[in-house]
C-alpha cells in the first residue's frame, strides 16, 4: 500500500520543479520513441515497397528460363500455391521522331501478372510506355527494329511499323518503363527467350525454387539472383540504416541514463529521509525503478501512438512518396518498447542504488 502511495505521489508530484522534470523526461521519451518508430516504419515501408515492386514488375519471385512445354503441367501442379504464367523476351530498337531507343520487348498474353496498368488491349500491335508515346508525338504507329531469324542460320534486322495498341505504366516508373515495350505472345519471333514466372502465395520462394529444381527444371532463377547487384546494394543500405537506428537507440539509452541520474540527484535528501524511515535501500531503489519503468512505458506508448497518427497522415500529406501500406512495424516496435522499459527500469534502479550507497543519507543528515 505504501509502495503504491509513494509511487503515485512521486509520479504526479505537487512540487512544480519535480513535476516539470517528470514532464521533461516524459516528453523526451515520447519524442525519442516517435522518431525511432517513424524512421523504422518509413525505412521498412521503403525497403519492402522497393523489393515488392521489383519482384512484382521486373524479375518475379521465381522464373524458369525455357520450360514452355511444361507450362500447363506446372500450372496445374502449383494451382493451389502459386500463380504461373508464361512470357517471352527479346530486344529491339524503337525509332521515334526524337531518335532511336534500345528497348526490351516482353511478349505477353492475358495470363501475364506483371503489374502493369495499361489502356487498350494488345492485339497485333505494341504497348508503349507513356514517355515513348509522347516522344513519338502520340502517333498511332511506331517503327520497331528487331532481330528475326532469316533463311538457314542467318538472322536479319528487320524494321516494321507497328500499331500502338495502348500505353502502360508500372509502379517502378521511368527506370523500368522507358526501356520496355509489350507485345502479344503470338507475335514473338522464334528466337525470343521463353520464361515461366511463378508468384507464390502459399509457400516461400526458396521452397518453390527447391521444388522446381527437384522436379528437374533447369535454370531456375530467384529474384535475388536476377537482381543480385541491386539486392546487394539494398541489403547494404538496410545494414547502414540498422546501424543508424541502433545509434539512435543508443542516444535514447544515454538520455534515459542521464534522466535517471538527474532524478536521483534531485531526490537525494529525500532518499536519505526514506532510508531513515526504515525503507531499505533495495525497496527505495525498486520504488524508483518502478517509476522509471512507468515513465518509459507511458512515454514509449505515447510516442508510438503519435507515430501511428503521423504515419496515417503522411500518405495524405505527401501523396506519391508514401502509400497506404505505410504502417507501424508492430513486432519491432513492441521489442524496442520492451527493451526501453527494461533498460529504463535497470538504469533507474542502478542510479538510485548508487546514490543511496554513495551519499544520500550523508547528504540528508549533514546538509541544512
Amino acid at each position: 500500500m505504501m509502495f503504491r502511495f509513494l509511487l503515485s505521489r512521486y509520479l504526479f508530484s505537487h512540487d512544480r520543479r519535480h513535476r516539470g522534470r517528470n514532464i521533461r523526461i516524459l516528453v523526451g521519451l515520447v519524442f525519442s520513441m516517435l522518431v525511432l518508430s517513424t524512421v523504422l516504419s518509413v525505412m521498412d515501408y521503403m525497403q519492402k515497397g522497393r523489393f515488392e515492386d521489383l519482384k512484382r514488375v521486373r524479375s518475379f519471385p521465381v522464373v524458369i528460363e525455357g520450360g514452355e512445354e511444361m507450362y500447363e503441367e506446372l500450372k496445374r501442379e502449383f494451382s493451389s500455391s502459386a500463380i504461373v504464367f508464361p512470357y517471352r523476351t527479346g530486344e529491339g530498337l524503337i525509332r521515334s521522331s526524337r531518335g532511336t531507343t534500345p528497348v526490351e520487348i516482353r511478349y505477353i498474353d492475358e495470363a501475364y501478372e506483371g503489374g502493369i496498368s495499361h489502356s487498350g488491349d494488345i492485339e497485333d500491335g505494341i504497348l508503349l510506355p507513356v514517355s515513348l508515346f509522347f516522344e513519338n508525338e502520340r502517333r498511332g504507329s511506331i517503327a520497331l527494329s528487331r532481330l528475326e531469324k532469316g533463311n538457314r542460320i542467318r538472322s536479319t534486322v528487320r524494321e516494321r511499323e507497328y500499331t500502338v495498341d495502348g500505353i502502360y505504366r508500372t509502379a517502378l516508373g521511368h527506370s523500368f518503363d522507358d526501356n520496355m515495350v509489350f507485345m502479344s505472345l503470338d507475335a514473338a519471333p522464334e528466337d525470343a527467350v521463353h520464361h515461366l514466372a511463378f508468384i507464390p502465395y502459399a509457400l516461400n520462394e526458396e521452397k518453390l525454387a527447391e521444388l522446381l529444381r527437384k522436379r528437374g527444371c533447369a535454370r531456375v532463377v530467384l529474384w535475388k539472383e536476377a537482381e543480385e547487384s541491386l539486392y546487394g546494394a539494398m541489403m547494404l543500405e538496410k545494414s547502414v540504416m540498422t546501424v543508424l537506428l541502433s545509434s539512435l537507440f543508443l542516444i535514447v539509452l544515454v538520455e534515459l541514463h542521464r534522466d535517471a541520474v538527474i532524478f536521483a540527484s534531485a531526490r537525494r535528501k529525500e532518499l536519505g529521509a526514506l532510508y531513515l524511515m526504515g525503507i531499505g535501500r533495495r525497496r527505495i531503489s525498486l520504488l524508483f525503478a518502478a517509476i522509471g519503468s512507468l515513465l518509459a512505458l507511458t512515454g514509449g506508448l505515447l510516442g508510438i501512438l503519435l507515430s501511428a497518427i503521423l504515419l496515417k497522415a503522411l500518405p495524405h500529406v505527401m501523396d506519391g512518396l508514401f502509400g497506404a501500406a505505410l504502417h507501424l512495424d508492430i513486432i519491432s516496435l513492441a521489442t524496442i518498447l520492451i527493451l526501453v522499459v527494461l533498460l529504463s527500469t535497470l538504469l533507474y534502479q542502478n542510479a538510485f542504488r548508487r546514490t543511496l550507497e554513495r551519499d544520500a543519507v550523508d547528504a540528508a543528515i549533514r546538509e541544512v
Binding site: 502511495f5 512540487d15 535528501k269 531513515l276 525503507i279 525497496r283 540528508a364
Partner: protein
C-alpha cells in the same frame, strides 16, 4: 531500566588520499531506556559521525555496536531497516520532510511502512500532529510551513512509531530563538512522556544541560 544499545571500543577512520584519518577512538558507551544524553563538542570533532554509528547509518572501523543483545555487524540490510522503522526516530537540523507530501502524510508514512492500514496511520498521525500543536496544519505541505513548524512535524514523524530511542542532531540549529525554545521543550517533554531514550547532539549548552547526562567529544574520545 533495560539497555537500548551499547558501543564497545568503537573507532572510526576515513581514508584521505594515502593517509588514514582517525575521527573516533576507543568509545565505550551504553544507553538505557528513558535516559536523555547530550553530546557536545567542537565542529568537526565527530559528533555526527558518532551519532551515525549509534543509529546504524554508518559502520564503525573497529569495535562493536550492540542493539538489544543483537550485534549490529550481524544485521543485514533488512534487519537494519527494521530497527530504523520500529526502534529509532530521527530529527535533524534539516527537517528532511518529503516535499510532495502533506504534514499528515509525512507523519503517517512511517506507520504505513510498518504495515498499519492507511486509515489507522492517518488517525494516529493526526493525534501526534495535534500533540505538537499542528492540528490545524494537517493538509499543509512542507513549503507552506515555517522552520519551527517543519521541525515539529519532523518530531511527530520521529515519534509516531513509538521508538525506543530518538536521535536528534542539532534539531534547533536552524531556528530562531523563540522557535528553538519551543522545539526544545517539545523534544524533552515528549521524550519524558513516552519514556524514550534520547541522544542529542547540540552546540547549545543550555539545551544540553536539560538532559540527564552531558558528554563531550574531544580528542576522538567521549568524556562524561
Amino acid at each position: 531500566m533495560s539497555e537500548v544499545f551499547r558501543l564497545e571500543g568503537v573507532g572510526k577512520s576515513f581514508i584521505s588520499g594515502r593517509e588514514s584519518l582517525e575521527i573516533l577512538k576507543g568509545i565505550d558507551f551504553s544507553l538505557n531506556e528513558g535516559v536523555s544524553v547530550a553530546i557536545q563538542g567542537k565542529s568537526g570533532s565527530g559528533k555526527s559521525t558518532l551519532l551515525s554509528i549509534m543509529a546504524l547509518i554508518e559502520r564503525p572501523t573497529v569495535g562493536r555496536v550492540i542493539y538489544q543483545k543483537v550485534e549490529a555487524q550481524d544485521l543485514d540490510e533488512r534487519g537494519i531497516a527494521e530497527l530504523h522503522a520500529r526502534r529509532m526516530g530521527f530529527v535533524f537540523q534539516n527537517s528532511l520532510l518529503l516535499e510532495d507530501f502533506t504534514a499528515l502524510e509525512n507523519v503517517a508514512l512511517p506507520l504505513m511502512n510498518i504495515a498499519l492500514s492507511k486509515r489507522e496511520s492517518y488517525e494516529r498521525a493526526e493525534g501526534f500532529l495535534q500533540r505538537v500543536g499542528l492540528g490545524e496544519r494537517l493538509a499543509h505541505r512542507p513549503t507552506e510551513l515555517s522552520g519551527g513548524e517543519r521541525q515539529r512535524v519532523a518530531l511527530a514523524r520521529a515519534l509516531v512509531t513509538k521508538p525506543s530511542v530518538l536521535f536528534a542532531d542539532e534539531p534547533t540549529g536552524a531556528l530562531d530563538e523563540e522557535s528553538a525554545r519551543m522545539v526544545e521543550d517539545l523534544v524533552l517533554e515528549t521524550v519524558s512522556e513516552e519514556k524514550l531514550a534520547l541522544v542529542l547532539v547540540t552546540h547549545n549548552p543550555a539545551f544540553a544541560s536539560r538532559c540527564e547526562r552531558v558528554l563531550t567529544l574531544s580528542g576522538k574520545e567521549l568524556h562524561e
